[in-house]
Each structure stands twice: as C-alpha cells, then as structure tokens.
C-alpha cells in the first residue's frame, strides 16, 4: 500500500502536539505547546485559523462542533468549532489533564490527568461526572469503548486498565507497560485505541508491538508487530473502518497493519526521525495526519482502506507507480504505469496461487530491470489489497479468470512486501583526525601526536587555536585566532596544517603554517574547489595530504606546491603520514550489523613511489569502529579500534595486522578508556592518556601520558611456555621495523638490532631448555628451526649433554641445513647479509672480558703474523675445534694434498691430531673464522648468562652497557663460507657420536674422496671399548698406509695385526693400559662434543698457557649451560 508522504511543515513550537481531523475531514486541527489550537484547511494552508486555549495545550478532541482541550491551567475546556468561542469549562483537575477523548457519539468526554484520576463528563451537563480512581501514577491516555460501556486507560504505573464506566470500577488491569513516575519520563505515551464499529479489539501499544485485547473476554488475542519496528510505539489509531491500525513510534516510524491478516501494509518514516506523538485518520481513511514532538505536522496521503472506493484505490496506485518511477527511472514512466494499472495486479499473486497464466511472461519481461521489478512489486501490494477487499475483480478487465482465481485465494494474505530480515546496514563512521577529540566540544584537542598538541577553543569569548610542542626545541608554542573556523589539524616537525569545512560563502580552506621554512613567508593557504570539503588531512616529511568529500586525495608539498592527485575508492575515514609513507583508511562498502567495512591503502613516496597495501580490508573487532590510526615512531602502521584493540602491521607476514595490545584489559572500570596518542616500537611503549569514565580526555586539567606495555594475545600466557612464546613473537614483531628501515635506506640502530637478535635467540634457547625438560623433543626441533645456526650448535650441545642423542642428531641435521642455506643465500641476497654478519660479528667479538679479549687480539695478530706462527696457532685452534673424525677433515685436505702429506707423515702426535693439523695449515685463509665453532658458542653463552643474571626488567638496561661494540670489521664472504663449512664439520662430529652412527662407515667408504685409512680409525675411535690394538692401530695406521699405500682395508688390519704382534709384551701392555685409560676418559667425554679438549688434557703436550685458556673454554660452557637447565619448580 504505497502512499505519499507529504513534506513536514511547521505547526507549533517545539513540544508535545496533538492532531485530529474534524468530522467532515475538511480541517486538520492541531494543538501544541504554544497553547494554540490551529485549524488547517489542508497541509498547504499557510494561514491557519487559531484559537488560543491557554499557555499550553496538552490534548484536544473534536466532535460535533465542539473542541475540547486540556490546557495548562488544569482545566478541560470546550470551544466551539470552527469559530473558536469559549464554551465553558468541562472539568478541573488538581494538575493538568494529559489526554482527552470523546466517545463515539460525542456525548461524553473522558479525560486522564497527572493527578492519577480519570474523569468521564457529560458534554451537555458538566456536573455529571464520573471519577475513576485506581491508578497509582499519572494517566497516560484514555479511550472510550465505542459502545460506551467501558473505558480503557493507560498509566505511568505500568498498567492498562479497563473500567466499567457506570460502576466506576476496574474491570481488568494488565501490567504491560514500563513504570515511570511522570509523563515526561514515560518512554511512550501509550495512546490506546478501541476498534471503531464492532468495538471488538482494544489496541495497546506495548514496546515495539501492539497488543490486541478482545472485548468481553479481555484476552490478549493477538499481537501486531513488524520486524523493522525497533522503537517503542507511541501512539496507535484505528482507521475509521476498523480494519487498519496505524501506529507511530518514538523513532518516527509510521506503520499500518491490516488487523485481519496481522500484516504490515504500510511503512513510512518520519523524514527527520522525530517522535510521532499524535496521529489521526481522515474520516475517509485515505489519509493519516501526524505530528511530532518538534511541533511539525505531516500527512500521509493515498492510503487505501475498505472505505475507499475503487477510484480512490486506483488513484493512489497510479500515484505510487509514478512515485517510485520518479524515484528510480523516469524513462520507464509509461510502461510502468501500464503495468501498474493493467497487468500487475495478478503476477505476484500467481506464484502464490500456483496459476501459470500467460500474464507471467508479460510481467517477467519488463521485470528484468531491478528497478522496475521493484516498482511492480510495490504496485502489486496495492492491488493485493484491493483484491483482498474483493474490489479488484472489475478492474481486471482483461483477465477476469485470473481475478476470480485470485480473490478467493488471496483471503489468507501472504506477506506482500518481502519482509527484509537480513542484517541491517550500519551508519558509516564519520571522518576524523586520529588524535583529536570530537569537534562538537568547545575545548578540544584538535591533534595530539608525538610532536605536540593542537588545542581548539571555541566558546563565547574566544575562537582560537593553541599549538604546543612537546619538544620546545622544535618551535615555540603558538596561539592563533581561528577566524576561519578550522576544525581539523595536523602537526609535524615542519608545519602545522589546518583545514576548515566550506560555509555558504567561503570554500573549504587549507592553511599551512610552515614554521620550519627558512624564508620569511611561513604560511600558505589553498582554497578547495567549490563543493569540495576537506575531510581528513595529514602531514608527512615534506608533503601534506588532504582527502576531500569528492573522494579525492590531493598532495601538496610542504611549501605549498600542488603535487599528485588521485581518487580514493571510498569516503575517507582518516589518514596519517609518516616520513614518506601515507596511510589512508576509507569506507569500502556499507557495513552490516554494527560492523564497519573499511579499506586501507599504504603508499610510499620518495624516490620510488609505490603502493604497499592496495585497498585491503582493515580488520576491526566485532561491532567496533576505528578510533585511532597512526604510525609507530619507527614507521610501522598501526591502529586502534573502539574496543581498544591495538593492531600493528606485520610486514614480514604479507602485510597482515597483528593485535599487539588490548587497552581495555588494563582499564579498571568499564567506562574507563585509554586514548592512544602514540606508539613506539623500540622501546616498546604504547603512549596513551587514561580517561576516567570517558573516551576522550578533557583539555583541563592537562592530562598526563601513561605508558602501557604490549602483549600479544597468545594462549596461556600465564604459563612459562606461553610467556616466553609471547615474548619471543612480540620481540620478532616489534623488530620488523629494522628490516623495513634498512630496506628503505634509513640508518638503523645496529646495536639495538643485534641486541634484539640476541634477546630472541636467548628466548628460543630458554624455550628449548624448557621443552627438553618436558621431554618434548619434537618441539625442540621446531624451536631449533627458528634459531640461528650458532644457537643451534649450542642447542645441540645442550641436547647431547642432557643425553638426548636422537634430538642432538636431528638438530645437527638442522644445523647443516642452515649452514647450507646461508651459503646459498649469501651470493644472492646481499640485503640479508648485514643481518647475519651482524650476528656473527657480535657473537665473534662480544666475548666476556676474560677469555674474549685475548682471543680476539690474538686473532688480529694472527693475520699479520708469519706462516709458522700461524701454523702453530692453527693447530691449537684445530684442537679446540675437536673435529673428531678425520673423514671430514681429510675431505678438505685432499685438494691441498701435497702440503698435507708433508706435515702429516712425520707426526707421531696424539690421536686426532694427525688429521686435524693438516686442514688448518692448508686453509690459511679460513683461519680467522676457524675458531668460530667453539668461541662463538661460548660468547653467546657468556652474553646470555650475563643477561640472564640480571632481572628480566633490567635486562634491556643491562645488556647495552655490556653489549658488544660492533667493530668495523669488513665482512668477508669468503671467510664466511669457510666458517660455515667448519661448522658443518662440527655438527657432523656431533652426529657421528650418536650411538646409531657408530656402525662401520660403509657410507663413508663409498665417498670417493675419502682416503680409506682415515675412516676406520675414526670409527674405531668411536666404538666405545677400545682395545690396545685399536689404539696402536690408530697411531700406526699412517705409517702402514705410507709403507703399503695399495692395501685394502682388511689387509691393513691384517698387516697391522702382524705388526702389533711383533711388538714386545711391555709395549703391548702399555698400549692396553692406555686404551683402558682412554676408554674411561671417553666414557665421560663421549657425551661432550669436546672430546678433543679431553684428548688434549690427556696428552698434556701443548703449551701451558694455551692449555689453560683452552681448559677454561672447554669447561666453561658446561657450567654456563647448567644455567639454562630448566628448573621445574
């Protein structure tokens, strides 16, 4: 039932108003807060007659030429209508009457009052009064039973009461309303209405529904509701025919139901959404007039009801068709009209009735366009109505048969308008400047960022802007008069940017106070084109950006040159700049059910202009909106939503957003909030202003900044594991900016970076230790994959020390993999190199004072020293290295075979030394890093233990003082590769030691390069119980092979057996003794990687000083590792 909503017009001054038609329907009569009753000849009547009835008029009723009003002098008076002569006072109350009504015949008036009473008065004889007492609060409304037996009233005490008028007694009472203490506090006026004519139903508005009570039984027989009706219903009114019920709500919606079918047939919305406080039907039933609490008068025209004849039904149908047509598409006017008038009456009904008439096609063809389809459906509603009223048949001249089918079928009315039950769109959030308080405040922060504060004052005396800098070194504070009415501001180290919206005369202006300019002109101003308003603005380094209502983004240089301009995909919400980055958030689409659908763009200017994030959705918490947007001081985008979740861009995970903090968690009370003003990544600080009981801080007293810590919302952060995981990932996340900064060419705090790396590795190691303790070896391996290679070696050692051989072996594989990876990456990725080399250098030089100083000095010396000296030292290094098996070393030896042989042959040196001395001699270039395997590990340990000792809080403080100074040691790729090789060996050694690997080295023998003699020696050494012969064999294998180089492995052993037997008994005994001692030694050493160190101790042949230093080194790690042992308590 489409109807036309006429524009609202001014009726009375603000306040409660009432409206009714006169009996003929010719006049609209209103009363209002100004105490006047106005008589309008129509909605367009610009000069209504008025009758002044008092200071205020609360209610009016009109019947039979008598106008009854309730006015502020606590009386109910009569005036003649339409002349407006006073006709006496009908009754008085102790306070004002709230509602007056006539009965159907006009012989009686009922009035409810704020003094809890209802009076029923004969119009002809005001002395005949009946008083109905029983309400316990002001009476909201009254209504007569059309048959005059009863009277219903609603009261603030929450009850709706039906009275027997003659007996003056309560018949029944329903406690269905909300209790209040006064009319002014009542949520709803609760105007009751009794069905005219049959008087069967009493309609009671209860919240968002209308209850129908049946006369006589007084049962609640049905409820009229509408899914779209979300606000309290204020007034209800029956159509004169009694078939339709109109309701007006607090939110301004007008709804008409068909009572028989209980379906909503009409919905309209007050154009401004004001509360509808009165509504009345035209006696013909075709119009509804209504008034709102703002004193305006409105009219719905073109309603069709049972009383209207065919013509009136047709007319509105036509009108409606036109109406919608106009709305959507002018061109289709004619066709649509045709449809509306001739065919469309049936088509929608057809699916209902299951009738496949040929009209279907006619309808469907034009219905392809969405707009027309909609128009048709709307039309059909109308026709359905008429159909249901059995008036449609004669209209359907051309398809009688359809009509006949339709009419009976239509009796149970089907929902005419497909009721929309899906999610409702949310109002898009308005554009705002991050770091500002709402614009309606007289004293507000226009901007609070890391540079300073811009405050705006807009009260009677003053309209000014104060700019203040946190750091007075930037600029002194400024005070500007705000004659242009700026509402937006941004502040940077270079300039203040201000903007005002356009007014009637003036265009929207952008003003920039470029205080850092070196010339004398420190200010520029730009007018935006007409009709374009500044919505958001921001400053970057050397540029300013403005987003406008024309979906445009305009870039300016900081000096005022217009630069790039581009279009935005949606209405801007806010934007921020930092350095060369610009972050824009805009509306992607309408959101639903309280959500906002925002998109984000991140652009980078500078040399290489590019878009880093192009229009991806911005994730917000459920039912929240954006409340702050900004960059961290290091340049990582982040934002805060209205539920207090802070999210930060994770550049290393494909530009995803990670929640890093929930400010609400730290709030004491529900109404407290934190107003974020800045975020720093290093140190990790969330700077915000605690607001007690509000979302925004007041300008006075001056709020103080507080610092909140970050916390990733990981699971189970109460456990130690969860805590460490959270710490680790937070550390990783908050140091993404290093790689970003270095990749975009900024200098970075290398100290901080290396420190971070160390912290992360330390955390990993702790987690590793914890997992080890909890017997989670798989987890250990997973952790090891996150470690750098150096730390993996440390982990291997930890694992082997805690007798987890399987783990150690797996770890060694990982270490190997990592080493290979580094090797592969090195030539390709130069960018990554500083990172790795940084770590290495740190670990290489960050030694504890005691052991480190000397070592590094020595290493420096080494480079300059002569070959012989080097050789000696290398040997020591070699011993340190404890590459147990010769297989690996000899592999490397081969290319330099000549030299190797010369040094090897004469040596009758202790075990293991044979093979080891050589590789280091030939690998002269590799020497600086040769010691990397061990010293590095010790260094890391040193650092770690030292930082461990300091309390967690002071850790960050503790490290820097002790932190390694990065010496400008040029990274030598060559060295690096070799060092990794060495580490490979080291790890292999570890793997060899695991029991599984002790079987004869068939695989090793297969390796073409490996000289056969070396491997068995290696393996026999690893077999735990060594016999004297084996020992002897190890010692003498070289000489055997030297003598008979063409021997097979088995032959060598045979030969060796022979030779061994030839030895004297004493010698053999000494060898067995030695073997015993060795095995005993090996038993405890085998868990250590540093068997070489053990061997050294055994031999005791090396210089004393070197030895001591080595002992320290080889023993220290164990004690240090014990610090890592996880204590379960």
């Amino acid at each position: 039932m489409p109807c036309e909503r006429k524009p609202m017009r001014y009726g009375h001054s603000e306040g409660h108003t009432e409206v009714c038609f006169d009996d003929s329907g010719k006049f609209i009569v209103t009363c209002g807060n100004d105490g006047d009753v106005r008589i309008w000849e129509g909605l367009d009547d610009d000069d209504p007659k008025f009758i002044t009835v008092g200071e205020k008029a609360y209610s009016l009723a009109l019947k039979n030429g008598k106008l009854v009003t309730a006015s502020s002098n606590n009386t109910v008076q009569i005036h003649t209508f339409p002349d407006g002569d006073p006709d006496g006072i009908l009754t008085r109350f102790t306070t004002n009457a709230t509602h007056v009504v006539f009965n159907s015949s006009g012989s009686r008036v009922a009035a409810g009052s704020s003094d809890f009473m209802v009076k029923v008065v004969e119009v002809s004889d005001s002395s005949q009064q009946k008083t109905l007492r029983g309400h316990e609060a002001p009476v909201l409304s009254v209504t007569f039973d059309p048959k005059d037996d009863f009277l219903a009233s609603a009261s603030c005490d929450g009850s709706v009461v039906v009275w027997n008028i003659e007996e003056q007694s309560q018949l029944i009472s329903w406690p269905v309303l909300q209790k209040t203490n006064d009319i002014s506090n009542a949520k709803s006026l609760c105007r009751l209405a009794w069905q005219p004519g049959t008087a069967k139903f009493l309609a009671v508005p209860v919240e968002t529904k209308v209850h129908l009570y049946e006369r006589g039984s007084w049962d609640h027989v049905s409820t009229l509701s509408d899914d779209l009706q979300t606000q309290l219903i204020n007034v209800v009114a029956w159509s004169p025919c009694g078939q339709f019920l109109a309701a007006g709500s607090v939110g301004g919606s007008l709804t008409v139901w068909d009572v028989n079918s209980k379906l909503c047939v009409e919905r309209q919305k007050h154009e401004k959404g004001f509360t509808v406080c009165s509504l009345a039907w035209h006696p013909s039933g075709s119009q509804i007039v209504y008034t709102d609490t703002e004193g305006c008068l409105g009219l719905l025209d073109g309603l069709s009801t049972s009383t209207s004849n065919t013509n009136t039904t047709k007319a509105p149908a036509k009108k409606a068709a036109k109406d919608y047509d106009d709305l959507f598409d002018d061109d289709d006017d004619d066709r649509l009209m045709d449809e509306g008038l001739s065919e469309t009456n049936s088509p929608v009904k057809k699916p209902i009735t299951g009738d496949d008439d040929d009209d279907d096609d006619d309808f469907l063809m034009p219905a392809t366009g969405r707009v027309r389809n909609r128009g048709a459906i709307l039309d059909d509603e109308n026709s359905l109505d008429t159909g249901s009223l059995k008036l449609g048949q004669d209209k359907f001249g051309d398809d009688d048969d359809t009509g006949s089918v339709v009419v009976p079928a239509a009796a149970p009315l089907v929902p005419m308008r497909p009721v929309y039950e899906g999610p409702m769109p949310t109002a898009p959030q308005k554009a705002f400047q991050p770091g500002s308080t709402p614009a309606h405040l007289t004293h507000r922060f226009m901007m609070w960022n890391s540079v300073g504060i811009v405050r705006g004052y807009n009260d009677e005396q003053d309209n000014a802007i104060d700019v203040e800098f946190h750091d007075t070194a930037v600029h002194h504070a400024m005070h500007l008069t705000n004659s242009l009415g700026h509402t937006m501001a941004d502040l940077s180290q270079e300039a203040v940017l201000l903007a005002c919206p356009s007014t009637d005369e003036l265009a929207s202006k952008l003003q920039c106070l470029h205080f850092s300019s070196w010339d004398t002109n420190k200010e520029w101003m730009v007018d935006l084109p007409e009709g374009e308003d500044v919505r958001a603005l921001c400053l970057g380094q050397g540029w300013a950006a403005v987003a406008t209502s024309a979906l445009m983004l305009r870039l300016f240089s900081i000096g005022g040159i217009q630069r790039e301009i581009f279009s935005l995909p949606g209405n801007v919400v806010c934007m921020v700049g930092h350095g060369e980055q610009l972050l824009i958030v805009y509306h992607r689409a309408p959101g639903f059910d309280g959500e906002q659908a925002l998109g984000v763009q991140l652009l980078q200017f500078g040399r290489k202009k590019r878009q880093l994030i192009n229009g991806e959705p911005l994730p917000l918490s459920l039912q929240s909106h954006l409340s702050w947007l900004g960059f961290t001081a290091e340049g990582t985008p982040c934002y805060v939503d209205s539920v207090g979740v802070v999210r930060m861009l994770n550049r290393s995970l494909g530009n995803t957003w990670t929640p890093v903090c929930n400010t609400r968690e730290t709030c004491k009370s529900k109404s407290d909030h934190y107003w974020v003003v800045g975020i720093h990544e290093n140190p990790q600080q969330l700077r915000c202003i605690p607001c007690k009981g509000s979302r925004y801080p007041p300008t006075l007293p001056r709020p103080a900044v507080a610092i909140l810590p970050f916390k990733l919302p990981l699971c189970q952060t109460s456990t130690e594991k969860g805590q460490m995981e959270e710490q680790f990932w937070r550390s990783v996340l908050f140091h993404n900016h290093f790689s970003f900064l270095s990749s975009s060419g900024y200098e970075i705090d290398e100290d901080g970076q290396s420190q971070t790396q160390k912290e992360q590795q330390e955390l990993l190691m702790k987690m590793f230790a914890l997992s080890c303790k909890l017997e989670r070896e798989f987890r250990c391996v997973e952790l090891a994959e996150l470690m750098t290679q150096n730390v993996v070696t440390l982990a291997i050692r930890y694992a082997s020390r805690s007798r987890r051989m399987a783990l150690a072996q797996r770890l060694s594989e990982i270490a190997l993999e990592k080493a290979n990876q580094i090797q592969e990456e090195e030539p390709e990725e130069q960018e990554e190199e500083p990172e790795y080399s940084g770590v290495r250098r740190t670990s290489g030089y960050g030694q504890s004072e005691v052991t480190g100083e000397r070592r590094s000095n020595r290493r420096d010396r080494e480079e300059e020293e002569e070959q012989a000296e080097e050789l000696r030292e290398e040997e020591e290094d070699g011993q340190e290295m404890e590459t147990e098996e010769a297989a690996e070393t000899t592999k490397r030896v081969n290319p330099f075979a000549k030299e190797a042989v010369s040094s090897v042959t004469p040596s009758l040196t202790p075990i293991g030394k044979v093979g080891r001395a050589n590789p280091f001699k030939v690998l002269g270039s590799g020497k600086p890093s040769s010691s990397s395997g061990l010293p590095r590990v010790t260094n890391i340990l040193d650092n770690m233990t030292s930082s461990r000792k300091s309390s967690p809080l002071s850790r960050s403080a503790g490290i820097p003082s002790k932190g390694p100074v990065l010496k400008p040691l040029a990274p030598r790729p060559k060295t690096k590769t070799q060092s990794t090789l060495l580490q490979m060996n080291g790890t292999k050694a570890a793997s060899k030691k695991t029991p599984e690997n002790t079987q004869p080295a068939a695989d090793q023998q297969k390796q073409p390069e490996v000289p056969p003699p070396a491997s068995p020696a290696d393996n026999t050494e690893n077999n735990r119980p060594k016999t004297g012969f084996q020992f002897w064999l190890e010692e003498n294998r070289k000489s055997i092979t030297a003598d008979q180089p063409d021997l097979e492995e088995t032959d060598i052993i045979k030969e060796a057996m022979g030779r061994f037997r030839t030895l004297s008994a004493e010698e053999r005994l000494s060898w067995t003794e030695r073997a015993k001692g060795q095995t005993g030694d090996a038993a405890d050493l085998k868990k250590r990687k540093r068997a070489g160190g053990g061997a050294e101790n055994d031999n005791g042949q090396v210089e004393a000083d070197e030895n001591s230093s080595k002992k320290k080194k080889s023993l220290d790690p164990s004690s240090k590792l014990s610090a890592f042992a996880f204590n379960k308590n």
Binding site: G452, F469, H470, D471, T472, A473, R687, R702, V705
Partner: protein, 186 residues
Amino acid sequence: MDSSEVEFLAEKEMVKIIPNFSLDRIYLIGGDLGPFNPGLPVDVPVWLALNLKQRQKCRIVPPAWMDVEKLEEMRELERKEDTFTPVPSPYYMELTKLLLNYASDNIPKADEIRTLVKDIWDTRIAKLRLSADSFISQLEAHAKLDNLTLMEINTIRAFLLDSLNCMYKLRSNLQPGSSKGQFTDY
C-alpha cells in the same frame, strides 16, 4: 639541623615531570635519570625538577596527594584526631612550599592547596606544642610521638631542647645550688 638542610633532604624526593626536551639517560652518582622524551612523564628528584622548571624545560606533575579533595579530607582527619595522623609524604610541607613557589602554574588550585597544607601544618604544630606542654608539665621522662615529619621535629627541636636544658639547669640549681647560693650569698 637547619630547616634548609631538611629542605635539602626533601629535594631528593622523586617527582614526575613532563620534559619538553629530549635527552638520553644521564648517569649521576645518585643513580641514573631519564631518558627524557618530550611529552613523556619521567621521574626525577625535586631539585632537578625545579631546576628544569626554572629554565622552562619541563612541566611538573604534582604528586597525587597534592589535590584539594585529598588534602581537605586529611585536614578534617587531622583536626578530628588527637594524635598525629599519617601524612601523605614525609616532606609534605617542604614539597608543597617548593613546588608551589616555583611551579604554581603547573598545579591546579595552587592557592587552595597552599592554604590546606598550611592548615594541616598548623594543626599538627599545635598538637606538637600541646604534647610538649603536657610532657613538661607532667614532668615525664620520655614521650613517643608517631607520624611526625622531619620538618616538624626540626621546628620544635631547638626550642624544646633549649627549654628543657634551661629547666634542668634551673631545677638542678634550685635544690643543691640553693644552699650553695645561700652559702655564697652569705
């Protein structure tokens, strides 16, 4: 002990300031201070706060107790109780004086605070005098007073000790000396 010395001690108390300059951590004998970030509150000793304030390098955030409502409450309590009530800070008087003298523009309702603190001080000093009076008049050997601040003790120390000494002298002169005196007189 001079009251200026007490004040000197009070200047070691920490107070929050909001610097308007940027400076790294500074390392002093008494401990490290800073780092100073513009706009970010940092705890510094009062002497430094005042120094910076006088050079207009910072804004002082008044201590939490330096608030009209809290002080009013305290004053009422102080008046109600016969004994000394605990004070918000052991140097409340000194801090109030120092901060209000040099940074009254950073402290909301400075005048009211000054009056309130003076009221509290007066009440306490009155109590102190009263107890000293009863101490002397009852010829007690010792007394215990809780919750006194250094400054309060200091104000009464000189006078009380001197007067006690005097009285002691007078008393000791009175008994044995009286005969002596009489001796010499005659």
